[in-house]
C-alpha cells in the first residue's frame, strides 16, 4: 500500500497540522518552527542560508571550512551573475579529513587562507563555519584575525553551522558578516537621491535591469546587496539615503543594522510583476519628495507598461482560468507571484514558503482567494497531495519541487536560483508569462497518464493496472 495513493490518503503529520491552513477554515496557523524530524522538509540549513546571501559578492573569496560535502553542493549552482569578477564561482573548502576533525582544523584553515589570498588577491574573504567546525570548536574568529593582520585583507567569519537553526539563522549570520564591511569605505560622491538595493541576487541579470530603472529616473544605486555584489560597494553603502529591501527574509537584519546605526530608512519592495515593480519605483521616488523625480518615474512606468502590456495579451488568453500552486523560499516572492498570476488570469490554489514569518503569512492570507491552501515548511508528500486535490495546472517552485509536478503531469515554472531567464521588472513579466505559457500550454500533457483522456489510452491497456487495489485513482479519490 505504500506506493500508490489517493491524495486523501496522504496525511499531514500531526506536529505540522498548524502549518497547513485553508483560507476560510478559521483555523489557527503556526510557522517559524524547526522542521519536524523525518518530515523531508524542502528547507536546507543555516549554512545554506549564509551561502545564498553572501555568495554573489563576486570579488570576495568564499571558503567553506568543513568536510567537503557542504562546499561541493554549493559550487556554482546559483545563477547570480557578476558583471566583472568571477571569483565567487569557485568552490573553496578546507575539505577536512578525519585527522583534522580530531586534532582541529585551524592550521589547515590558516594555510588555506594565506595561500588563496596571495593567489587570487580578493577584496575580502568570507569563511563559512559548517556543522563540524561548530562542533570541534575551531577558533575561526582568531584565525580570521591573524590572517587579516598578515595579509591586510579583511577576513570575516560567517558563523553558520548547519544545525544552528534554519536557513533564516544563516541569513542572519550572513548579514552580520556583511555588516562588518559596512562603514569602512569612503562615501563621497553619493547623491542625495541614492539607494541600496537589498535582497536582489541578480539570478538572471535582474539587478542590472532594476538598476537601469533607477538610474534612468535619476536615483543612484550605491550597492546591490548581494547580487553582482562588490566588497567596496558594501564598504560605502552606509552613505545611501534609502534601503529598498526585496528579499525581506534574507536582508531584514542588514537593513535593520543600517537603520539603527546609520539611520537609513527601509522600504520593502518587490520587482515582480507590473504592479509591484511600479510600486517599488514610486516608493523610492516619493521618498525623496522631488516632483521631477516622480514625474520621471511615472514616465518610465508608462513607457515600460505600454511596451510590454500589449504583448502579454496573447498569453493571458491562453492561461485564463488555470490553477497554480506555488512553493518558494521567502514569502515576499509568494505575494508577488499571487498577484502576477492573477494578472495573467490564473488562480493560486496553493501557496507556501520555506521560511515565511507570521507577519508574512498574514499578508499572504490577505491576498489569497477563499479556499487557497497555505503551507509553511512543507514536504513533497503534502505538496503532491494538494496538487492532486486542487487539480493544479501549474506549479511554481525550485528544483526539488519540479519532479513532483512533472510526475503528475503538471506544468512547472522555475522561480528559484536555477532559472536563467530574468523574471523581474516590466520586461520580466513578459518572460514570466512566456515561461508559464510554454509549460502550461505544451501539448505534452496530453500524454501524461493523469491527463490522458480515455480515448487516448493505450489499446488493450488495463485501466486499473496502475492503481492500488481498494483505492481509487487520483481524480476519483479527489472528488
Amino acid at each position: 500500500m505504500n506506493s500508490v495513493n489517493t491524495p486523501s490518503s496522504i496525511r499531514v503529520l500531526e506536529e505540522r497540522s498548524g502549518q497547513v491552513w485553508t483560507k476560510g477554515s478559521g483555523k489557527e496557523f503556526s510557522c517559524d518552527k524547526k522542521s519536524a524530524a523525518g518530515s523531508v522538509t524542502q528547507r536546507a540549513c543555516a549554512f545554506c542560508g549564509s551561502r545564498v546571501v553572501l555568495y554573489p559578492i563576486a570579488d570576495a573569496l568564499h571558503i567553506v571550512h568543513g568536510p567537503i560535502g557542504c562546499a561541493v553542493y554549493n559550487w556554482d549552482i546559483r545563477g547570480s551573475l557578476s558583471s566583472g569578477p568571477q571569483l565567487n564561482r569557485n568552490s573553496f573548502s578546507t575539505d577536512l579529513a578525519e585527522k583534522e576533525v580530531i586534532f582541529g582544523g585551524e592550521k589547515k584553515l590558516k594555510a588555506s587562507l594565506i595561500e588563496l589570498i596571495h593567489y587570487y588577491r580578493p577584496k575580502a574573504t568570507f569563511v563559512y563555519s559548517t556543522c563540524i567546525v561548530g562542533l570541534i570548536g575551531d577558533d575561526v574568529e582568531a584565525v580570521c584575525k591573524q590572517v587579516t593582520k598578515e595579509t591586510g585583507i579583511d577576513c570575516i567569519q560567517v558563523d553558520s553551522p548547519g544545525f544552528k537553526g534554519t536557513k533564516k539563522s544563516g541569513y542572519q549570520a550572513a548579514c552580520e558578516a556583511a555588516y562588518k564591511l559596512v562603514g569602512t569605505g569612503d562615501t563621497s560622491g553619493i547623491s542625495p537621491y541614492s539607494i541600496n538595493l537589498l535582497g536582489e541576487f541578480n539570478i538572471a541579470g535582474e539587478a542590472w535591469m532594476i538598476r537601469g530603472y533607477f538610474e534612468k529616473i535619476g536615483i543612484q544605486v550605491v550597492s546591490t546587496i548581494t547580487g553582482d555584489g562588490r566588497v567596496d560597494d558594501l564598504r560605502r553603502c552606509h552613505g545611501a539615503k534609502l534601503n529598498l529591501v526585496q528579499c525581506s527574509g534574507s536582508m531584514t537584519h542588514l537593513s535593520k543594522l543600517l537603520k539603527d546605526n546609520y539611520g537609513i530608512p527601509m522600504e520593502r519592495v518587490s520587482f515582480f510583476g507590473f504592479e509591484d515593480t511600479a510600486r517599488a519605483i514610486y516608493t523610492a521616488a516619493e521618498h525623496f519628495g522631488d516632483p521631477e523625480l516622480l514625474r520621471r518615474a511615472e514616465e518610465l512606468v508608462r513607457e515600460e507598461i505600454s511596451l510590454y502590456a500589449p504583448k502579454l495579451k496573447q498569453y493571458k488568453k491562453r492561461l485564463k482560468g488555470k490553477k497554480a500552486a506555488l512553493y518558494v523560499g521567502g514569502a515576499f516572492k509568494a505575494f508577488s507571484l499571487v498577484l502576477a498570476l492573477r494578472a495573467l488570469g490564473m488562480k493560486t490554489v496553493l501557496a507556501g514558503t520555506q521560511t515565511g514569518s507570521a507577519e508574512d503569512y498574514e499578508q499572504l492570507k490577505e491576498i489569497c482567494d477563499q479556499g487557497t491552501v497555505i503551507v509553511d515548511d512543507s514536504n513533497p508528500l503534502e505538496l503532491a497531495k494538494f496538487v492532486l486535490e486542487k487539480d493544479v495546472d501549474l506549479f511554481i517552485g525550485g528544483v526539488k519541487e519540479r519532479p513532483i509536478a512533472f510526475k503528475l503531469g503538471v506544468a512547472f515554472c522555475d522561480h528559484n536560483h536555477e532559472r536563467k531567464i530574468p523574471l523581474a521588472g516590466f520586461e520580466g513579466m513578459l518572460h514570466f508569462a512566456e515561461e508559464v505559457a510554454n509549460s502550461a500550454c505544451s501539448p505534452v500533457w496530453k500524454f501524461a497518464p493523469r491527463r490522458q483522456v480515455k480515448a487516448l489510452r493505450l489499446p488493450g491497456s488495463d485501466e486499473s493496472a496502475n492503481q492500488d487495489p481498494g483505492t481509487l485513482a487520483s481524480k476519483g479519490g479527489a472528488a
Binding site: S35, C45, W75, G84, R450
Partner: protein, 469 residues
C-alpha cells in the same frame, strides 16, 4: 560590462591570470561528493526503501537537489533535522521521532540510515539507537539498516560501496542452498540504462540476477497516474536475503577487486558465494572479461545477439579509427569509471594523458597501469584531485577531449575542446539516466559520442565549416 572571461580558478579578482605558487592546502573545486550521497543512491535502488540521513537537514536537502538535478525524478530523503541541542546532547530523540514520522508518512519496506559528519563526530551510537527503537516497537515496522558515512573519510564512491556491503551483511542470510542459475551483480555507480542493460544481458545468458542496487526504475520511471510515496522498482529485501544462494557474484570495479572488505569478498568469505572481480565493462577487453564471467556463471556460450553486437562494435572502431587515433584525453570521475574509460580510450588509440579522481585510492597508479597500454610514464595520474589540479595538468598536457561529469565544462570551455559527459553529476544536459555505456552496445554508443564530439569540434574549428567529413 567587463565580465572576466576564462576559468574562474585561474583569475584574480581583477580578471588577470593568477601568478605565484599554486595553493595546495585548500581544495579548489572538488572532484568528489560526500559519502552520504553514495549511500543514499544505493538506498534508492532498494524496493520500498526510504533513505534517512541522521544529522543536519541541510545534508539531506543538498543531496536531494543534487540527485534530482541529475536524474530529474523525485528523490525523497528524510533527515533527523538536528538542532543545536541535538548536536550537544545526542540525536536519539530526533532519530526516534524522525523514524516514526517516516513510517507514518511513507510506510517504507526499509529505512536506510546513513550518518553524516555531525552525528558521527558526536559519536551517536547508531546500532544502539536502532535496537532501542525496534525493541520499543516490538520489532514492528520496517527494518532499519545503518551505514557509517562521515564525509571526512572518503567520497561518494566509498559511501556507495559501503552501503551495498552493509545491506548484504544485514540481509543476506546464510544458507546451504545454491541456485545454479542465480547470480549477484554488484554494479558500480552506473546510469539507469546501464543497469537495465545488465539485466537484459543476464536474461540472454538465462541467468536470474539480483542486481544491488537497482535504481533503474526508481530513478528513471514512467509518468504517474497517482502519486507514489516511494518510486516503484528496486531490489527487494527478499532478493537481497537470497543473495547467499547465488552461484556467483560479479562485482564490478577495480577498486573493489583490491578491497578485501568489499561486498563481494564478504559474500565469498562469509556466505561461500564465489566472487568474480571485474572491471567496469567499457570497451571490448573489459566487456569481453565481463561476458566471459557471464559464460562461466551460466555455463552458456556467448549468445548470438551479443556476438553480433561485438562484431558491430569492432566494425565501428574500424570505421572511425582515424578520427580518434592519436588523440589525447583527460578523464576524471569515480575511480572505477576512470579505470574503465582509460581502458576503453587505450584500445581505440586515444592516449589518456590525464586520469584523475577525487577519491584517495589504494594502488591507483597500478590499477590504471593494468589497463593502459604502453605504460603510464607520460600519463598524469591524479588521486585526491580537485578540478583546479586537473585543470592545471590539462593546461600543460593539452588534451583533445575531456571525459567526465558536467563539472568539466569550465575546463572544456577554457581549452576549447569537447566534453563527453559521463558519470555523476550531469546537470547541464538532458538524459544522464539514459546514457548507455556498458557492454558492447553501451561501448558502441559511447564510442559514437566520443568520435562525434571530435568530429564536431573539427567541424566547428574549421575556417570553412566542412559540411562533409
Amino acid at each position: 560590462m567587463n565580465i572576466c572571461k576564462g576559468n574562474p580558478d585561474t583569475l584574480t579578482t581583477t580578471g588577470e591570470r593568477t601568478e605565484g605558487p599554486l595553493p595546495a592546502a585548500a581544495t579548489r573545486n572538488a572532484c568528489k561528493l560526500c559519502t552520504p550521497l553514495g549511500a543514499a543512491m544505493v538506498f534508492k535502488g532498494v524496493r520500498g526503501c526510504l533513505p534517512f540521513l541522521h544529522g543536519s537537514q541541510g545534508c539531506a536537502t543538498y543531496i536531494r537537489r543534487y540527485m534530482i538535478s541529475h536524474f530529474r525524478e523525485p528523490v525523497d530523503i528524510a533527515s533527523s533535522s538536528f538542532s543545536e541541542d541535538d548536536a550537544i546532547f545526542g540525536g536519539a530523540k530526533n532519530f526516534a521521532q524522525g523514524v516514526d514520522n517516516v513510517i507514518h508518512q511513507y510506510a517504507p519496506e526499509l529505512i536506510g540510515v546513513a550518518t553524516t559528519c555531525l552525528s558521527e563526530t558526536i559519536g551517536d551510537n547508531m546500532l544502539g539507537m536502532i535496537k532501542t527503537y525496534q525493541d520499543k516497537h516490538c520489532g514492528d515496522g520496517p527494518p532499519l539498516v545503518h551505514v557509517s558515512t562521515p564525509a571526512y573519510t572518503g567520497t561518494h564512491s566509498d559511501g556507495y560501496y559501503s552501503a551495498i556491503r552493509e545491506l548484504i551483511k544485514a540481509f543476506a542470510q546464510p544458507t546451504r542452498i545454491t541456485q545454479p542459475r542465480m547470480v549477484n551483480i554488484l554494479p558500480a555507480m552506473m546510469s539507469c540504462a546501464d543497469l537495465r542493460h545488465l539485466r537484459e544481458i543476464c536474461a540472454l545468458y538465462e541467468l536470474e540476477a539480483t542486481i544491488l542496487p537497482d535504481y533503474s526504475s526508481t530513478l528513471e520511471g514512467g509518468s504517474w497516474e497517482c502519486y507514489h510515496r516511494i518510486s516503484p522498482g528496486g531490489t527487494s529485501l527478499d532478493e537481497i536475503s537470497e543473495m547467499a544462494t547465488a552461484a556467483a557474484t560479479l562485482e564490478i570495479g577495480h577498486t573493489q577487486a583490491v578491497d578485501k572488505d568489499s561486498a563481494g569478498s564478504w559474500l565469498e568469505r562469509e556466505r561461500g558465494v564465489r566472487c568474480d572481480a571485474l572491471g567496469w565493462p567499457i570497451g571490448i577487453r573489459l566487456s569481453d572479461q565481463f561476458f566471459a564471467a557471464m559464460a562461466t556463471a551460466s555455463n552458456r556460450p556467448m549468445p548470438a545477439i551479443l556476438a553480433d553486437e561485438r562484431g558491430r562494435l569492432v566494425d565501428a572502431y574500424v570505421d572511425a579509427h582515424k578520427y580518434v587515433s592519436g588523440k589525447r584525453a583527460a578523464i576524471f570521475g569515480e575511480p572505477d569509471l576512470v579505470v574503465g574509460l582509460a581502458a576503453f580510450m587505450s584500445e581505440i588509440g586515444v592516449r589518456p594523458v590525464i586520469c584523475a579522481t577525487g577519491s584517495k585510492v589504494k594502488k591507483w597508479k597500478e590499477l590504471l597501469a593494468s589497463e593502459i597500454e604502453g605504460g603510464t610514464a607520460d600519463v598524469e595520474i591524479l588521486s585526491d584531485a580537485d578540478h583546479a589540479k586537473l585543470a592545471e595538468a590539462a593546461r600543460t598536457l593539452k588534451p583533445d577531449i575531456i571525459l567526465g561529469s558536467s563539472k568539466g565544462y569550465p575546463l572544456a570551455r577554457e581549452l576549447k575542446i569537447p566534453l563527453v559527459r559521463i558519470g555523476f553529476p550531469i546537470h547541464d544536459r538532458i538524459g544522464a539516466q539514459r546514457m548507455l555505456s556498458v557492454g558492447y552496445r553501451g561501448t558502441l554508443e559511447l564510442f559514437d559520442r566520443v568520435a562525434n564530439a571530435l568530429l564536431e569540434s573539427r567541424q566547428d574549428d574549421s575556417a570553412t565549416g566542412y559540411s562533409y567529413l
